[in-house]
């Protein structure tokens, strides 16, 4: 096992074998953790996520409960995971170093009781009905009974001054959309501050994972790896391929399963089809939010055709459960490949026409240009990732790293836009659709070169490598259409899931939305919000 150091810090990291991409781990103390975080921030590296976990001493039911803080950082050389033993208490506030850590820490406390010792300690996932002393990820906490409804007095930050008033919006909206509360402090139409309150879509996914295992179907009685993969695919339905793939990467690393190359290509194909479908819907919705309903109707039509194509070829319009542990659920025939290729050609032509219409529509461009601007400096400071990040000129895309398969062979182009406003995020989507369509063509070419069949590797019945050398930790990291979706999986010696942390890119981007709105008018918020189109379900999970 090789070790190495990063960023000139005196921490010896050891490489974690068998992962889908390079992963380095180390156990650190509080001082080392802070020093490393500061060095990483100063070097322009990214916080991927942080989470806490609890374990009994010696895996024994009677053992003392010990907490750990885990921090995943994105260094250019790969993923680095630091683990800090946190005892029963807490850890030092990391939000001053990484602003995006703030809400992650609060959520970590709500789930395990291990949180930051200072800074913002308001509840995040925990809402009124959820008792303050009930931590769902502690193994001694009971299954939540039906809890009485209680009123919550959440301490929103108030803006003082003459003429400032608050507009509370949601969580129930005038349209059928996901729940989220937005508290605007405005002067006239001008937004001084926006504060978000999310967490209404918390479904206890992490606790549910802890009841499943990585055992194959025969050995698990329905709570095995396939159930876990299905659960991962339902964290955020619009990114189901990304989520399932990320979970499968982690599970495969633990079980020592290597998916066949053809399966990886098919997963990439599914992911790009998911990306195109999501971008088509968003482009239409951005048009609709400027009251240009024609755009919505045209893009919905294109998306509907695309989804029907999914249904015909892959058996599910939204591609649910097409990615499975060990590979993919079904292979692609030569005739289907031809159909997909024709579909791409048609779509490219139609999207180009609509792109021209959007570009030439003066009234619409007036709404989009300069609205909700996030400068590159702000994006880097707050850690804006994924598609909105690239629209603010942040050149970060896991697919273009060279150490993520199968992308390295497909040479995807990194697309960015310098402006960071709603118009830039719109153009970014057009550009990413073009690139995805090109990638789909490349993938189909490659698929032609590999023999059909054998798209799913066998899964060990016990869920661990046959020779007993399988790791206890697995990581999954996939560039979904919103940004990088991350899964950290920890199993016990019997293959049962002890902790499965799932991280949606929206965790990083929701706080940036609060900044993007400042100085805009209230009436432009829905448009700005739509241009980010962040996930409530994914982040609340």
């Amino acid at each position: 096992m090789s070790t190495r150091r990063f960023l000139d810090q005196p921490i010896d990291f050891s490489t974690l074998p068998g992962q889908a991409f390079p992963v380095w781990t180390a156990r650190v103390d509080a001082g080392e953790l802070l020093a490393f975080c500061r060095a990483a921030r100063d070097a322009g590296r990214w916080l991927v996520t942080l989470w806490t976990s609890l374990a009994r001493e010696g895996d024994n039911k009677a053992g003392e409960l010990r907490g750990e803080l885990h921090l995943a950082l994105d260094l250019a050389e790969g993923l680095v995971c630091l683990t800090l033993p946190a005892g029963q208490g807490g850890f030092q506030d990391l939000a001053p170093i990484f602003p995006s850590a703030g809400r992650l820490q609060r959520a970590a406390f709500d789930l395990t009781g291990i949180g930051p010792e200072s800074g913002d300690r308001r509840p995040w996932l925990r809402h009124a009905n959820w008792p303050a002393d009930w931590f769902p990820l502690r193994d001694d906490s009971h299954d939540a009974p039906r809890l009485p409804t209680r009123h919550e007095d959440y301490a929103f930050v108030r803006v003082e001054g003459e003429g400032v008033h608050e507009i509370p919006v949601g969580p129930i909206h005038a349209g059928t959309i996901e729940p989220g509360h937005f508290r605007f402090s405005v002067v006239g139409e001008l937004v001084m501050r926006l504060e978000e309150r999310l967490g209404w879509k918390h479904r206890g996914i992490a606790r549910r994972f802890a009841k499943l295992s990585l055992a194959g179907d025969g050995a698990s009685g329905g709570s095995g790896v396939n159930a876990a993969a299905r659960l991962a695919g339902r964290i955020a339905g619009d990114s189901t391929v990304a989520w399932t793939w990320a979970f499968c990467q982690a599970a495969e690393a633990v079980a020592g399963v290597e998916p066949p190359p053809r399966a990886l290509l098919l997963r990439a194909l599914l992911l790009e089809r998911e990306r195109v479908a999501a971008h088509l819907a968003d482009l239409g919705a951005i048009g609709n939010d400027t009251a240009f309903a024609f755009g919505l109707m045209e893009f919905l039509r294109l998306r509907e055709d695309w989804l029907r194509g999914n249904g015909r070829v892959f058996g599910h319009r939204l591609l649910f459960d097409c990615v499975v542990p060990g590979g993919v659920a079904l292979d692609l025939s030569a005739s289907d490949a031809k159909a997909l290729r024709d579909e791409c050609a048609t779509l490219a032509k139609e999207v180009a026409q609509l792109h021209a219409i959007y570009d030439d529509h003066a009234g619409m461009q007036d709404r989009l240009l300069t609205t909700g601007r996030v400068t590159k400096e702000l994006a880097l400071q707050l850690g804006l990732i994924g598609m909105p990040g690239r629209a603010s000129d942040v050149a970060r895309d896991l697919r273009c790293r060279g150490d993520h398969e199968p992308w390295a062979k497909l040479s995807p182009q990194l697309v960015t836009h310098p402006n960071g406003d709603v118009a830039a995020r719109t153009l970014q989507r057009f550009a990413e659709i073009d690139e995805s369509l090109r990638l789909i063509g490349t993938i189909l070419d490659r698929l032609q070169g590999t023999p059909a069949g054998g798209c799913r590797a066998a899964w060990p019945a016990t869920g661990s490598a046959a020779d007993g050398t399988g790791a206890r930790h697995g990581f999954g990291w996939v560039e979904g259409w919103r940004g990088d979706v991350f899964v950290a999986l920890e199993v016990d010696k019997d293959g049962r899931i002890r902790r499965c942390h799932t991280h949606d890119p929206s965790w990083h981007n929701w706080p940036v939305l609060e900044h993007a709105v400042i100085g805009n008018i209230v009436a432009d918020f829905p448009l700005i919000n739509k241009s980010f189109n962040l996930s409530y379900a994914g982040a609340d999970s």
């Binding site: 008033h165 608050e166 507009i167 509370p168 919006v169 909206h173 005038a174 349209g175 059928t176 006239g188 139409e189 048009g287 939010d289 400027t290 009251a291 240009f292 309903a293 024609f294 919505l296 109707m297 045209e298 039509r301 529509h361 009234g363 619409m364 007036d366 709404r367 008018i521 209230v522 009436a523 432009d524 918020f525 829905p526």
Partner: protein, 321 residues
């Protein structure tokens, strides 16, 4: 005036009022159908607004705990204002009972009265959206009203009266003249109508985004028959504005006498003109995107400027006639 002369006027007036009440939702349905067609959707049924009204009338109105009596009275007031407005616009005939009362300035006042009450009702509950909508509505109102007045003044200067009946009589039954001033006034009137009726590009009647709403934000708290009355009043307003536009700029074919034959021709012509007008409105709405709230003053400022130009053009170029 003897009763024999009043009776047909009274009948015609009643006929016009009920025609407006009955036809207004149809115009809304027609516009919605064309919007859908132009967007590439399957259009909703033409009679859908009637079903919506029936459904709402059959529902119990729910009131917020802190709603005052103003909140309950407002729908009736607004509906009455719009019904009266639709009745005094000389749509089918200029020989109506209310014709002496049908003054252009009074009409603007009627619209303003309804606006004040809907804004007050919006603020009455004390929700953020009601106040937000009321504020925006007043912003639009105080810019739209002067522009509308200037449009009327153009027509008044041509006909020498602010009485709508006289204006329509003059414009419809005079020897044929081309008035360039009316072209300016017509454009200004179209812009004002779009703003006043909450249509794209000023407001979006179809939106579900509460933060962008103007008219819809004020009436979010209404339900049941209250909402039905307000929806109906909105249809009546659109109908009244459409009729007004036709009366001012395309009055040809309006009945000069109150005979059934003349009225029948007037009704047929009216329906045709409204259908065309509704289609054009849907076309404008489909082609435009909603502008930023702060662009509205520019939009209505242009309308005012055009209306002033219309008066000037008349005084400078057409004054010798």
């Amino acid at each position: 005036m003897d009763i024999d002369a009043l009776l047909p006027q009274f009948a015609a007036q009643l006929f016009e009022l009920f025609a407006a009440l009955a036809l207004a939702p149809l115009l809304t349905g027609w516009v919605n159908q064309w919007r859908a067609r132009l967007q590439g959707r399957t259009p909703p049924p033409l009679l859908l607004p009637y079903h919506t009204l029936m459904k709402l009338f059959g529902k119990e109105p729910l009131l917020a705990h802190n709603a005052s009596s103003l909140f309950r009275v407002a729908p009736y007031l607004i509906f009455s204002c719009m019904a009266l407005a639709a009745a005094i616009v000389p749509t089918l005939s200029s020989e109506l009972l209310f014709a002496p009362a049908a003054d252009a300035i009074a009409l603007v006042g009627l619209f303003a009265l309804a606006r004040v009450f809907i804004a007050l009702a919006g603020m009455d509950i004390g929700t953020a959206f009601g106040s937000l909508g009321a504020r925006r509505e007043m912003l639009i109102g105080f810019l739209a009203e002067p522009a509308l007045l200037m449009v009327f003044f153009t027509a008044s200067v041509i006909s020498g009266s602010t009485s709508l009946a006289t204006i329509v009589d003059t414009l419809a039954h005079r020897e044929f003249h081309i008035y360039p001033s009316l072209a300016f006034a017509g454009v200004a009137f179209t812009m004002v109508s779009i703003a006043e009726n909450g249509r794209v590009p000023v407001d979006n009647p179809a939106t579900h985004l509460e933060l962008t709403m103007i008219h819809e934000a004020m009436i979010l708290e209404y339900s049941g028959r209250h909402l039905a009355l307000i929806e109906w009043a909105a249809s009546l307003k659109l109908f009244a504005y459409s009729c007004l536009g036709i009366a001012l700029f395309f009055p040809f074919g309006i009945a000069q006498t109150l005979g059934p034959g003349a009225l029948a021709i007037a009704v047929a012509l009216m329906v045709g003109k409204l259908a065309l007008g509704g289609f054009l409105l849907a076309l404008i709405e489909t082609l435009s995107a909603k502008m930023r709230v702060f662009r509205t003053p520019e939009f209505l400022g242009s309308a005012f400027l055009l209306a002033v130009l219309a008066v000037l053009v008349h005084l400078l170029l057409e004054g010798s006639r």
